[in-house]
Symmetry: D2
Subunit: 330 residues, 4 copies
Amino acid sequence: MNSYGTLFRVSIFGESHGESVGIVVDGCPAGLSLTEDDLLPDLERRKGGKQKGTTPRQEADYPFFKSGLFNGKTTGFPISIFFENNNTRSEDYQKQRSIPRPGHADWVAHQKFGGHEDYRGGGHFSARLTTGLVGAGAIAKKLLNGISIHADVTEIAGDKDLERGLQKAIDAKDTVGGIVECRVSGLPVGLGEPYFDSVESVIAHMMFAIPAVRGVEFGTGFEAAKMFGSEHNDAIENMDGKTRTNHAGGVVGGISNGNELVFRLAIKPTSSTPKEQTSLNWDTEQQETFSVKGRHDLCVALRAPVIVEAATALVLVDLMLQEQRIKRIL
Amino acid sequence: MNSYGTLFRVSIFGESHGESVGIVVDGCPAGLSLTEDDLLPDLERRKGGKQKGTTPRQEADYPFFKSGLFNGKTTGFPISIFFENNNTRSEDYQKQRSIPRPGHADWVAHQKFGGHEDYRGGGHFSARLTTGLVGAGAIAKKLLNGISIHADVTEIAGDKDLERGLQKAIDAKDTVGGIVECRVSGLPVGLGEPYFDSVESVIAHMMFAIPAVRGVEFGTGFEAAKMFGSEHNDAIENMDGKTRTNHAGGVVGGISNGNELVFRLAIKPTSSTPKEQTSLNWDTEQQETFSVKGRHDLCVALRAPVIVEAATALVLVDLMLQEQRIKRIL
Amino acid sequence: MNSYGTLFRVSIFGESHGESVGIVVDGCPAGLSLTEDDLLPDLERRKGGKQKGTTPRQEADYPFFKSGLFNGKTTGFPISIFFENNNTRSEDYQKQRSIPRPGHADWVAHQKFGGHEDYRGGGHFSARLTTGLVGAGAIAKKLLNGISIHADVTEIAGDKDLERGLQKAIDAKDTVGGIVECRVSGLPVGLGEPYFDSVESVIAHMMFAIPAVRGVEFGTGFEAAKMFGSEHNDAIENMDGKTRTNHAGGVVGGISNGNELVFRLAIKPTSSTPKEQTSLNWDTEQQETFSVKGRHDLCVALRAPVIVEAATALVLVDLMLQEQRIKRIL
Amino acid sequence: MNSYGTLFRVSIFGESHGESVGIVVDGCPAGLSLTEDDLLPDLERRKGGKQKGTTPRQEADYPFFKSGLFNGKTTGFPISIFFENNNTRSEDYQKQRSIPRPGHADWVAHQKFGGHEDYRGGGHFSARLTTGLVGAGAIAKKLLNGISIHADVTEIAGDKDLERGLQKAIDAKDTVGGIVECRVSGLPVGLGEPYFDSVESVIAHMMFAIPAVRGVEFGTGFEAAKMFGSEHNDAIENMDGKTRTNHAGGVVGGISNGNELVFRLAIKPTSSTPKEQTSLNWDTEQQETFSVKGRHDLCVALRAPVIVEAATALVLVDLMLQEQRIKRIL
């Protein structure tokens, strides 16, 4: 279902080229000061067109609050946020409706929804939906007073020099993937459960809903599979649980241990590559060669950090409320 | 919470050295032929002591059905399964209660549950709890008629030669991690949703509840971050959606595309290494040097495949019921 | 939380005198023909000002679809519906902010939300929120092809002659309550479960979220408590499960039995009586005498039937999807 | 599904004549002192055979804890409780398998589960399942320190003199229904939400899962429908929210207001009347006359109070945890 969370729950809606995209945030405690301005910095970061490698599509991305606020504060009831879609060029998509773009959801959506999906711009599958996530995430961040969440691209096209990684895409007239790392400091000990809502479980659940994410690892992650136990184990140093190393990435037994939470995401290369591709035309049942038109990112990983931060914040607020680390009435 | 699933839900309980471990399986359609024997092969695979590198602890691991069956078939009501704990040596743990073992949940559990946790053998955090998962998974596999789920260890200690990888641990008198790969064939197109219950989301949620899992990746996973879009995109070949390559690992836009579902898990080295370690004694607030006693696996990855298969099956049945691919009445 | 449903889930938001009220409908199968016009007849029925005894407050109550539709059909993704609030006279409420109206949520909301609640017009507690329910219910009704849901006021102020019941209120310059009965025909056998989601459980859960509902009974309901078993038992007549009598109201053991589903709701008298009342002024901590101003219904039961039908339809679609009686793809 | 609750969740299982019945209690905070003895008084109250009008079937009803306890305290992990079924006379039921008993779930279960249901003694539909509820409820009551929950039969066969009501059944050689009233004092202000988890919604949801419940009303309930607003409104008297009258039964706008919570349940007459009845034989498709054999209650309402108290306690703990009125660590 298009909602996630137990005591802090988001419900997402909208299509890329429909009338709007948006989100409903349920469970936000009453009394949090909140204006549209609180959301703008992160929404600005999410926007394309600001840096080399991101799409030139520009939306105002202004968040319209439609409920849940009164006198500049949250009321304790659902906050609904809308973003208008003004800047769409749907004809780009209609032309080649019957040729599902490789790497995109065109084909599966067509099968799953019997041809009734809104295919324009990827519809509900579009990264445009993440506008709502980022808006909701900005609210969650405000609730996480004293906790810092920071995500960065650490690698593009296998290169830690990001400029050089991006240049690979430009040179090859292709798209590239990347790695995003997220670090959270200031988390209390004791969030999460071994079964089935481990910190890793609920974060990974949310992260794999972000388009283009192909892998999630915590702490040393896949490297841990190559280590000795004596090497990977983090020795506890003091009564706060601070460990000498942090191979666990801040989670042991599914429960936060008070050290920095660290996880990384593998982001696949943008599916809409400018390169010529082939696909099956489902009308003619023939293979066809085509190039994807439209405005796209050379590397979607570049736009992912603020989305990852938002998604992380949403999950953490929910865990914090469940563990009574955020008061229901502020 | 200790349950997972929407229409097919498991509720897990038990502690490693308590009276029992077990699971309740809710939502199993009526009319499935089922006896204890159906569970034994997978339970046997999960058992330690059968191969080099696994713990000598032996439990009968016999599944006692306590409800949900009648005349050898499921009734449509919850199936509860119990496993007795007979073979416990709790004194191993009681001796060093105040020294939390690095890499284990001892310290976080103590903080989270205020000292009331059952610390013996890891309590509820123990891999012994996965007995229930494997039992429930065997039921799920029976429901997934025509779908094959197969997991394997593909790498130990960074080595694809598994004997050699294990030998590293033996030589070093240490423990090692590994990689488990799971492949599912025969899945229908259309399981999952983009938000928030993508196939990757719900599988990863479940996988990260398995002890020692540190990373989950689908298809080419982290390698995808190094690829070009034109290289990673899987071209659709025929009207069944079969793709030329399968970098996506069978999921696009969060939805199964009818190709083989492929994902990999990073399993950390067993935390209970025979090596000498140091930790904080929370009574004396001093560092102490000690070695973990008790019976443990040199490489827990070796026991993971059957657990991963079970966990996968549980998630897939739930997705299949939601998409009406399994009939409520068999 | 402000959402309800398992496979068909509504998320409600808005405040009576805020910018808007609305609802997000998640889980509607793709391919249902749907326009705003489909919602208008029920929204019209819900409106006040059309009959003796209802509030003169007039809202256009026009449903703006903001997502989930494409080419006049549902896409399978969330349908968001907005209603603008244009016709509000908030000053009526601001004047006596500190005097909680008896029978209203003013006092509990103030306590629960620490004074941050939007108190104007009852905020989120207002019956105006039911606009969203009615809109969503109209969609649910379209999905319930072949099933008829009909609710009626059967009693006002204890009188089965409704004119006469209402006249009691007019004569007494007071407000009155009433009974609403809902009948559903065409339901399949087999919806619901004994634990914990009996048909009665999920319907009652939803009904008690409708403002002013004080009791819910199925079949003969409270009368059943006075009957003999031999009298109350419904003898099965034919292989369709049709019973001679229908004291059970269509549900046995929590499961629909194919007979007409019948239940009744007790609706309390409108809390905003024109009569003079006393309450505690929480600023002065003194009792004060006052009369409620604003525009109100003499008998809210009169507006309840269409809301009850909508709420019923929402629950039934969810049960039908769970039992695979509605196809996921239309 | 066979579980209920958000942060405090019970999962029920078992069949009347199967091996056992039981329940898993998830979310109980760690550190609560608990032994089997804490459950025995309520389990004793639930037992039949102790008073005129209840079944002579005697089970030891001893609760076996199988997990979640350590050193006499809860660990914070799931508590599983088992009750053995020793005293069953299944042959009573097998004889007339094909004649669904009127008022019982025989026919709907047969339809819903395709003939695979355990029909002996009503299987999962049996009131025997409430043993688990009562056991879990006793735990919930211990958590509700300072809150008193008390349920009573207030009416049998329409008579407030209970002896006389019961005598009607004995005289008529039939079964009778009754009214159970539950009163809770000491509840804090602020539990519940207007949508969709009003206090009434979640309590009614749970109550309608108790076998034989046909109606639920809060405060004056159905009587409210006959009252004037000025009469029904409860005037607030003091800064604790204490009201002069309590027609609301302690809930306004779905939220507890700090006054006594009062609700009543209509319990239908026991379906297994000793009277001769007719039903359809689904093998012969003919009507047949028969009398129900087996051991049954003349008036199930007599055994309901302790079940109602338990069910109430379970719901209230969940609401209290959500509102942070019970600490996660005791």
